[in-house]
């Protein structure tokens, strides 16, 4: 289980996140919020890319990230797909995934096997030798997901994974996450209610750097109306964030 306790983050004098305490269990966890709400910053903290200016991040009860050896080692259990990830353009899909697995401290001997598995999960086995620069947007997202999965993490963090994908690619991605959430803690940040509806997990609404609402998908639907349509989700979301502001 991944847990944040009293996490805050400031850029100089500007507060981006304030006193966030959350627990993420196995299954889909959806961080819903408007652009600039603080979702990406929270994910960067969860992934260990930046240290919070206040609070702690715990993985299975132990401090994750930071400068300690144990904290860094725990990051090996967290896979992360940033919203905009870069790559050396001539690097192949397999090399990128292997590098990501190596960064996650996977033993070098196990990397080829893990990479093969990750490529199989994202259905990119036939494109493993292709350079990243030659992939379509959807394929690139899947390559990024393969890189995040290559270390065989218990926690998978996905930042706006469906942004820029066409509906068909989005469906494919949803199906992929549906499979992964069965045995992993999947944390997805999104501003798309379609993602929330499709992934059907626990929903956390963040706005202005604070948690405004937390609950299940049916509870969010109820907040918006009687049915479980997308329109009801939208109404509920607006209710939460307008209440916040």
């Amino acid at each position: 289980m991944l847990e944040v306790k009293g996490v805050g983050f400031r850029y100089g004098a500007r507060s981006v996140l304030a006193d966030i305490s959350l627990q993420f269990a196995t299954g889909a966890n959806l961080l819903l919020g408007r652009n600039g709400a603080g979702k990406t910053t929270l994910l960067r903290i969860l992934a260990g890319a930046v240290a919070p200016t206040a609070g702690t991040v715990l993985l299975d009860g132990q401090l994750s990230g930071g400068s300690t050896r144990l904290g860094r080692r725990l990051l090996g259990n967290i896979g992360w797909l940033p919203q905009d990830f870069g790559y050396p353009p001539r690097m192949t899909v397999r090399e990128f995934a292997a590098y990501a697995a190596w960064l996650k401290a996977a033993p070098p001997k196990t990397i080829p096997q893990k990479v093969d598995f990750a490529l199989q999960v994202v259905d990119l086995g036939d494109r493993a030798g292709c350079s990243l620069g030659s992939l379509s947007g959807g394929q690139l997202r899947r390559a990024g997901l393969a890189a995040a999965l290559a270390g065989d993490p218990a926690v998978l963090i996905l930042d706006e994974p469906t942004a820029g994908l066409d509906p068909e690619q989005r469906d494919t991605f949803h199906q992929l996450v549906q499979r992964l959430k069965e045995h992993k803690t999947v944390i997805v940040a999104t501003h798309l209610l379609e993602d929330v509806e499709a992934l059907a997990g626990r929903v956390v609404i963040i706005d202005q750097g604070a948690v405004r609402w937390s609950g299940s998908l049916p509870e969010l639907s109820l907040l918006g109306g009687e049915d479980s349509s997308l329109a009801a989700l939208r109404t509920a979301f607006h209710k939460v964030v307008s209440g916040a502001s």
């Binding site: 960067r44 992934a47 260990g48 890319a49 930046v50 400068s67 050896r69 860094r72 080692r73 725990l74 990051l75 090996g76 967290i78 992360w80 940033p82 905009d84 990830f85 870069g86 790559y87 050396p88 353009p89 001539r90 690097m91 192949t92 397999r94 090399e95 990128f96 292997a98 590098y99 990501a100 190596w102 960064l103 996650k104 401290a105 070098p108 990397i111 890189a147 270390g151």
Partner: protein, 452 residues
């Protein structure tokens, strides 16, 4: 502990290492070869000369290190690196070691070049290992500066900023030394210009300097790799090394054995000091060649020496004082360097003629050597020196060696000398030989007369 990098990154590391090695070697060899007269054949000078390559070699290593460290930022995968479970040191180890290895290979190539040039000629001594610590330190400080700036300086500027930083540091030290006027910064730059022919920098200073830069470079690397404990330890070590350099700043020991005169018998007899005895045979041959063009002048009783105080210094420092009936100074000169570890072409031949004809008139308090300015003795000397330059096909505009007089201009201002010069040039060989033979004693005392 094995460093793993997927295929193309490893290949790029190799390319970077090869480029750094090639550039470091090329600039280093170019730099030392251009001033070979200052070290070729002398181990002490040759050992120190590898340090010259560090001036730009450090810049190259720094720029390359900044380039490789900035790669995750350049390609946009820095977040993955920041969220890595491996330490930053492990992540960048392969790339930084490649740069370091490339830089080291470059210095080794320079060292190989210097060794190949010196080993066949050197007569005594061996490479000074403490001097060779400087290039090792240069590798570490170069990589350290590049690693630090590659992480913090804006992406496009990082390699450039890192590349110029070692040179800026060098210049700041030079200016600081001049400004403070206490000589305390004299021995900090790795690329020093201290001629090791007769002077040596103490081992403490050399070792302290190398340790200072290496520890400082290591601290920069450790700090960038988020290993604060190691960074502070290395900074402490750099502080101690810095103290050692400051305490011994400017101290020099004289290599007194290098002053001992070494004579080569035969015709002509020559004596050089121990520091330049690798040139003895060539010195004798070149003087013999020049004497062959000076028919009529008998030099059989002359001992040629490169410096007038050679015997006195030899007596003072080694107790060895060779005897000589008559001494004539023919400097070991190459270009602008004297005494040089290589004998130049035009500069040596011209200075030889200068010593034979003009030097007797320039000794003493001024250019007239007791003779009134414009005396026949001095004028005859200029005429004969002008003839000598013509015979040896040398420039007459005063450019053969530093301090040479512009004979062409001097003759042009004096119609009598111009005419005498023409006259002497038009004589047949027999007449010239006879003139030189009959005037030899007067020429040696600047009392010669113009050829008529």
């Amino acid at each position: 502990m094995r460093s793993f990098t997927p295929g193309r990154l490893g290949y790029q590391d190799f390319l970077v290492a090869a480029a750094v090695a090639a550039l470091t070697a090329a600039q280093g060899i170019f730099l030392v070869a251009g001033r070979a007269e200052r070290w070729e054949g002398n181990w002490a000078s040759s050992s120190a000369v590898v340090g010259w390559a560090t001036l730009w070699g450090t810049c190259i290593a720094a720029a390359a290190a900044a380039w490789v460290v900035a790669a995750p930022r350049r390609h946009g995968y820095l977040p993955l690196v920041q969220a890595a479970a491996r330490s930053q040191a492990r992540i960048y180890a392969a790339a930084l070691l490649s740069v370091g290895a490339g830089s080291l290979l470059g210095y080794l190539a320079v060292l190989g070049f210097v060794t190949a040039k010196t080993a066949p000629k050197a007569t005594h001594g061996s490479a000074d290992l403490v001097e060779l610590a400087t290039p090792l330190a240069a590798v570490v400080i170069g990589v350290g500066v590049g690693t630090a700036l590659g992480r913090v300086v804006p992406l496009r500027l990082a390699p450039l900023a890192a590349g110029i930083t070692p040179y800026v540091i060098y210049m700041l030290l030079v200016y600081a030394d001049v400004y403070v006027s206490q000589g305390i910064f004299t021995d900090f730059p790795m690329s020093d210009q201290v001629d090791r022919t007769y002077l040596r920098i103490p081992v403490e200073t050399l070792a302290g300097r190398a340790l200072f830069w290496a520890a400082l470079g290591g601290a920069l690397i450790a700090w960038t790799m988020r290993s604060g404990r190691h960074a502070y330890s290395l900074l402490l070590l750099a502080g101690f090394a810095c103290s050692a350099v400051l305490l011994t700043a400017g101290a020099r020991t004289e290599a007194v054995g290098e002053y001992e005169a070494v004579c080569i018998e035969g015709q002509p007899r020559v004596c050089v000091d121990r520091a330049h005895d690798h040139l003895g045979t060539e010195y004798q041959r070149r003087i013999r060649e020049n004497l062959a063009a000076l028919r009529g002048i008998d030099m059989s009783s002359v001992t040629f020496v490169p410096a007038p105080d050679l015997f006195e210094l030899s007596r003072r420092y080694s107790g060895n004082m060779p005897s000589a009936q008559r001494i004539l100074t023919a400097p070991l000169i190459d270009g602008r360097t004297s005494p040089a570890h290589r004998i130049g072409g035009a500069s040596f031949d011209a200075s030889f003629g200068f010593s034979v004809f003009l030097a007797p008139c320039l000794q003493g308090d001024g250019p007239t050597a007791g003779q009134p300015k414009g005396s026949d003795g001095t004028r005859a000397a200029f005429v004969l020196y002008d003839w000598w330059l013509g015979v040896r096909d040398l420039a007459r505009d005063g450019t053969n060696f530093p301090g040479e007089l512009k004979v062409q201009s001097i003759l042009a201002e004096d119609p009598g000398m111009s005419k005498a010069s023409e006259t002497f040039a038009q004589m047949d060989e027999g007449q010239r030989e006879e003139f030189l033979r009959s005037h030899q004693a007067d020429l040696a005392n600047c009392r010669g007369s113009l050829p008529t």
